[in-house]
């Protein structure tokens, strides 16, 4: 009983983690399926077919490539713009602060269909042909708010005395920003960028409105494929992306630990 009480948090934590991961486990399992027909719905037989040929379905790997590219550019751009806004909001008092806060928050409250379609109308009015560029613009727009919210918290908790110390130690404004401010806010920016990347990588509705036939992203591909049963390759790619993220973090951590050990 007391064991249960002591470990309750761990037990609940593990259960919730399981809840979060359960669908991914299903996705992983079905990446090893060998469906009899063209629908990967029912478990039929274990097979590595899809794993040995992940790009086997036409277009799927191009779409992943495009999504990665868009996710990267969009999240990085949103990170830069969002960080600047976050600094302004977290650091300064100025007229229009409340309005700015509202403007940051509204896109999160706007239904995606609405955003996607009204943006498309705008692009046409502006004469911007749909495609990679318009997807990027849209993604940067909706990622911006998430970056701002994330980074602002970090900026607000930054100790201004550290910047003063840098100035005291002969660092001019630019050096102070690059050598002290930025590294200290970096974890917040990293978190915001990661969040933005995952939002961009996974967006369908807004993307679909602003895409062209040449710019089919991974979610668009999946959406289409899901209309008539997703090919096993999609599970493979989902699994690779999922595990890839984990491996990168683990590798980073191991590397960091090794470096620490060498120093110590």
């Amino acid at each position: 009983m007391s064991w249960l009480r002591r470990n309750l948090v761990i037990i609940i934590g593990v259960l919730v983690m399981l809840y979060i991961l359960l669908p991914n486990l299903v996705v992983i399992a079905y990446s090893f399926n060998k469906p009899a027909g063209r629908y990967n719905y029912e478990w039929t037989q274990f097979s590595l077919d899809a794993w040995t040929n992940p790009c086997g379905v036409p277009g799927v790997c191009q779409s992943v490539g495009l999504s990665l590219q868009i996710g990267l550019i969009a999240s990085l751009t949103a990170a830069v713009l969002g960080t600047m806004v976050a600094f302004a909001l977290g650091r300064y008092k100025f007229r229009g602060r409340a309005g700015t806060n509202l403007l940051i928050f509204l896109p999160m409250a706007t239904p995606e269909v609405v955003m996607g379609s009204s943006l498309l109308t705008l692009f046409i009015a502006m004469g911007i042909p749909t495609g990679r560029t318009t997807i990027l613009i849209a993604h940067i727009m909706f990622c911006l708010s998430f970056v701002v919210v994330t980074v602002k918290a970090r900026v607000a908790s930054l100790d201004p005395r550290l910047e003063q110390a840098a100035a005291d130690l002969y660092a001019n404004e630019v050096q102070t920003f690059l050598k002290v401010t930025l590294p200290l806010v970096a974890p917040g920016i990293a978190a915001g960028t990661l969040l933005a990347f995952s939002l961009s990588f996974d967006d369908y509705i807004i993307t679909n409105f602003n895409a062209s036939p040449e710019s089919v992203t991974f979610p668009m591909y999946v959406w289409g494929a899901a209309q008539r049963g997703t090919p096993v390759q999609i599970n493979v790619i989902g699994t690779v992306m999922f595990l890839g993220a984990l491996v990168i973090v683990l590798a980073g951590q191991l590397l960091g630990r090794r470096r620490n050990r060498q120093v110590a």
């Binding site: 005395r161 003063q164 110390a165 840098a166 005291d168 590294p183 120093v263």
Partner: protein, 374 residues
């Protein structure tokens, strides 16, 4: 790039006002090159603000600051050859200790920064933790890193804002010795802010006592302690017994006083200008408990009852109640001699030359830092 402008640090009419509140009020001060200067005063009196103006982190509302005759009032912090050891250390958490110390050197493009930074770390005996992060260090170690980070730049002036404020007593005393050693080794001008009066006295060549944004008194520790010019200085720098006295006459350089009906004397030279009323001050350690047999001629004496005895280790502190209600504090070194008992009636005495006289218009409790008015 910082310009070398070695020489005295001079503040002229420096004032800093925040909206309606004047934090620093028209300060004139000359701090000779190479001296160890302490700025002492209660919380909120403007010490940090003064330092920040010298460092360039704050702009004076009025007045000028110069080093070695060169006016630096308008220059940016990074253009001044002044470094600060911040009250809270302000070490860069993302850099390791060596990088922290080397920060200023690198900014100035010093090429052998590694060698110089390691030397500075050796100076504070921390070379072995060069690769650790600040959070992995204890408070005392962090403080020394902050010191090394500032000292390594060989600034014209080193500002120390209560660098020992967060240390415990024992470590604090050791760091004081360390600071003194470093100052004499590298020969910089140190401006040291503290509100620990004992710290100021043991370390500084010159002490300035500040209150409410103004300088109260500037001088060497001995003079400030033995001859305070205000009740504030008298109370803030150590303890003082202040007795209400009326001058009854002056002859041959000696003033006769009436203290609650008891006749006393004080050197006439120490009398303040103005009226006949004054505060007669005497330090607790200057008061002796006189045995019945002893000769009390030439001493000012008072009789009272011992109401409290506390053993301080090195010394014992007595509170002795006077007939008019007020208590006198007496400190006697525990040199092995027998001492007074709680409740006994004793005679207190002191050499008139050891006392001082202050203008009676002041508040006797100024600077005594009562709990209510922190």
């Amino acid at each position: 790039m910082a310009e070398r402008a070695s020489g005295d640090l001079v503040l002229t009419g420096v004032t800093r006002t925040y909206e309606t509140f004047t934090a620093v009020d028209n300060i004139d001060l000359t701090i000779p090159q190479g001296s160890f200067f302490a700025l002492l005063g209660p919380s909120g009196c403007g010490k940090t603000t003064t330092l920040r103006m010298v460092a360039g982190l704050e702009q004076p509302t009025a007045g000028t600051i110069s080093i070695g005759g060169q006016d630096i009032t308008a220059t940016k912090p990074y253009q001044r050859n002044v470094n600060t050891v911040f009250q809270n250390y302000a070490l860069f958490p993302h850099l390791d200790i060596l990088e922290n110390v080397a920060f200023g050197l690198k900014r100035r493009g010093v090429s052998n920064w590694r060698v110089q930074a390691m030397e500075a770390l050796e100076l504070v005996e921390l070379a072995h933790v060069a690769k650790k992060k600040p959070t992995q260090l204890s408070g005392g170690m962090q403080q020394r890193v902050a010191l090394a980070r500032a000292v390594v730049n060989r600034p014209d002036v080193l500002l120390l804002d209560e660098p020992l404020g967060a240390l415990d007593l024992k470590l604090r005393r050791q760091m004081q010795i360390e600071l003194k050693r470093i100052q004499s080794e590298v020969g910089l001008t140190f401006v040291h802010v503290t509100h620990d009066q004992e710290e100021a006295m043991t370390m500084a060549d010159t002490i300035a006592v500040m209150n409410g944004g103004r300088l109260q008194q500037v001088g060497d520790p001995g003079t400030l302690y033995e001859k305070p010019e205000s009740t504030f200085a008298a109370n803030f720098l150590g303890q003082s017994n202040l007795l209400r006295a009326t001058v009854s006459g002056v002859s041959q350089g000696v003033a006769s006083l009436d203290v609650h009906g008891v006749a006393m004397t004080v050197p006439a030279a120490s009398l303040p200008d103005g009226g006949k009323e004054l505060w007669l001050g005497i330090r607790p350690e200057k008061v002796r408990i006189i045995s019945d047999s002893a000769d009390a001629t030439g001493l000012n004496t008072l009789k009272g009852e011992v109401t409290d005895v506390s053993f301080l280790g090195v010394a014992t502190q007595y509170l002795v109640a006077m007939p008019w209600g007020r208590e006198l504090t007496v400190v006697q070194q525990n040199d092995g001699m027998p001492r007074a008992q709680l409740g006994s009636n004793v005679t207190l005495g002191w050499v008139p030359e050891n006392s001082f006289a202050l203008d009676a218009s002041q508040d006797a409790d100024a600077g005594a830092e009562h709990i209510e008015d922190e």
